[in-house]
């Protein structure tokens, strides 16, 4: 594009020293080629060669490993646990994030809006390990919550808050909230607030105006935010590994254990294929939702 305009001969003296370099035809395509080659070699070539192991072993092509993922109780249990946990996390995250995003949209004070957004962004920025670690401190048997409940006389012995699904859900929700808030906020911001004023002007109560106008218009954000949180959730490693127990392993941990403990590359690769395909399907769904939504189409 830019070179088409440059039809005049460069004025001598005004041209930077890179002048001669620019004369090489097709140099601009390096902008495209360098990043492409870099990611292709480092990521896609590596991924292809490791995923190949799921269907090829020393004896040649085999479906044995993929079949194992879907038939052996251990793997099925991990798959089910991953989907279940991510689904709960997605729902909890949605219910917590919706009011935050809604308030961000309706709030008049620019300063408070900035405060809330900054808090959300800072939690996103703070180390994932630190955020997970802090929950291990809070949720353990001798942790703050149990101590408080016991001294308040509400319970007589510690409640198990971690090394179970509960702990994983709490930790993952805390970490994924910013993604949901930002997804919801970006869609809600595009909603024409005059529609609600109009509804209220015609006699709808605020609650009804919200339910019948705002909520349906925000659904694309709900859908894409939920899918993104779900996708990130099924791939999570650190938080489930630290807050979950032996009984509720997630897919990522299973892959890592197959590599680092049993050195079973084929199995790890087969599970990775399942994880990756699930992710791609969900992302495809998210893209489809975004495309189908008349709101998003109208806005662009």
């Amino acid at each position: 594009m830019s070179t088409k305009v440059n039809t005049e001969a460069p004025v001598p003296g005004m041209v930077p020293p890179l002048n001669r370099l620019v004369q090489i035809p097709g140099l601009k395509w390096l902008l495209l080629l360098i990043p492409l080659v870099y990611t292709a070699i480092l990521l896609y070539y590596s991924m292809a060669s490791v995923l190949k192991l799921s269907v090829y072993d020393d004896k040649g092509f085999t479906m044995q490993y993929l079949q194992q993922v879907f038939t052996e109780p251990l793997y099925l249990k991990v798959l089910w646990n991953t989907l279940k946990t991510s689904f709960i996390v997605m729902l909890v995250t949605l219910f917590i994030s919706y009011p935050i995003a809604y308030l961000l949209v309706v709030m008049e004070s620019e300063r408070w809006k900035k405060v809330v957004l900054s808090l959300v962004m800072i939690t996103l920025w703070i180390s994932l390990l630190v955020r997970t670690f802090t929950w291990t401190v809070i949720l353990q048997d001798q942790g703050i919550i149990n101590k408080f409940l016991m001294s308040a006389g509400l319970i007589s012995e510690p409640v198990k808050l971690m090394y179970n699904t509960m702990g994983v859900v709490i930790g993952m929700t805390h970490i994924l909230i910013p993604y949901m808030v930002l997804s919801l906020y970006s869609v809600m911001e595009g909603i024409d607030r005059r529609l609600i004023q109009a509804a209220q002007g015609m006699g709808a109560r605020p609650w009804k105006a919200f339910m019948q106008i705002f909520l349906p218009l925000s659904l694309p954000g709900v859908m894409s935010g939920s899918l993104i949180v779900f996708v990130l959730g099924i791939g999570y490693f650190v938080t489930p590994a630290l807050l979950g127990g032996q009984g509720n392993m997630m897919i990522s941990k299973l892959i890592q254990e197959n590599i680092q403990m049993t050195l079973n590359w084929s199995m790890a690769s087969a599970i990775s294929v399942v994880l990756l395909v699930t992710t791609l399907i969900l992302l495809g769904l998210a893209a489809w939702v975004a495309r189908l939504s008349p709101l998003l189409k109208g806005e662009k």
């Binding site: 495209l32 492409l36 703070i126 630190v130 670690f133 703050i144 630290l242 890592q256 590359w265 994880l275």
Partner: protein, 254 residues
């Protein structure tokens, strides 16, 4: 009113848990009793005097700085390509560049571990930088693309018509205009690398442990409050970087 109250409570529930670590890092006890019975700075001393923690910290900072440089350059090239060139398959190219944001990190980790073992890149700083940059490039790409989309193309066209070369235009016109986005994206890349643990678990070896790896191993074996001190330092560092980035953004507007 109820909404504000509700969101206020949620915001507290989101923020306070992180702050729990700050008083704990000043505890005089070896256990995580909250609130600590008495205060001391001994865990900070322990952090500063322990070579494992300090080496990890410096290694992490080195890797993060190198990752920031590499991924900012490559990410900027990719977004310039998408925003300024016409080519078929632009959408596919964009998807390939941003995909690491959503590909499960473990899959990226084992893939690189597999390939890097062949080329003797595991347990090297180079290997860590290469791996981290793949995860950081999408951040750079998204940030720079947004900035490029928002800038006035006419300024570039004017410079071209005045005889500047495309490369000259980039360094003299485009780059100064997107400067704050470039700095922000370098910061994102830096933080991405500084916090990266999953891929590092595979790539880092005994002699190239980064800070998150030291923390990770610590959490899984003998948790001692030194980790609370390390975490507090990370929190303070992050908040400082965040406000820095906030300043650069306000600077851009004015």
């Amino acid at each position: 009113m109820w909404l504000r109250l509700y969101v206020g409570v949620i915001m507290l529930l989101i923020t306070l848990p992180i702050l729990v670590l700050v008083p704990l890092s000043f505890s005089s006890q070896i256990t995580f009793t909250f609130p600590p019975p008495s205060y001391s700075t001994k865990w900070y001393t322990a952090f500063l005097e322990n070579s494992q923690w300090m080496d990890g910290l410096w290694r992490s900072l080195t890797v993060a700085a190198l990752t920031a440089v590499v991924s900012t350059i490559i990410g900027t090239m990719a977004s310039m390509a998408v925003q300024r060139l016409e080519f078929p398959g632009k959408k596919i190219f964009t998807n390939l560049i941003v995909a690491p944001m959503v590909i499960p990190v473990v899959v990226v980790g084992i893939a690189m571990y597999h390939t890097f073992s062949v080329y003797k890149l595991t347990n090297t700083i180079t290997g860590l930088v290469l791996a981290h940059s793949i995860l950081a490039i999408p951040m750079v790409f998204v940030t720079i693309s947004a900035s490029l989309k928002g800038m006035d193309r006419n300024l570039e066209l004017a410079a071209l018509s005045l005889g500047s070369t495309p490369i000259g235009v980039f360094f003299k016109v485009t780059l100064p205009l997107i400067k704050s986005a470039v700095m922000a994206s370098a910061l994102f890349a830096f933080i991405t690398s500084l916090d990266e643990v999953v891929v590092s678990i595979f790539i880092a070896g005994a002699s190239t442990k980064t800070l998150p790896i030291v923390m990770w191993e610590n959490m899984r074996t003998q948790v001692d409050p030194t980790i609370a001190a390390a975490s507090t330092l990370l929190i303070v560092g992050t908040v400082l970087l965040f406000s820095l980035q906030g300043f650069s953004r306000t600077g851009q507007k004015s």
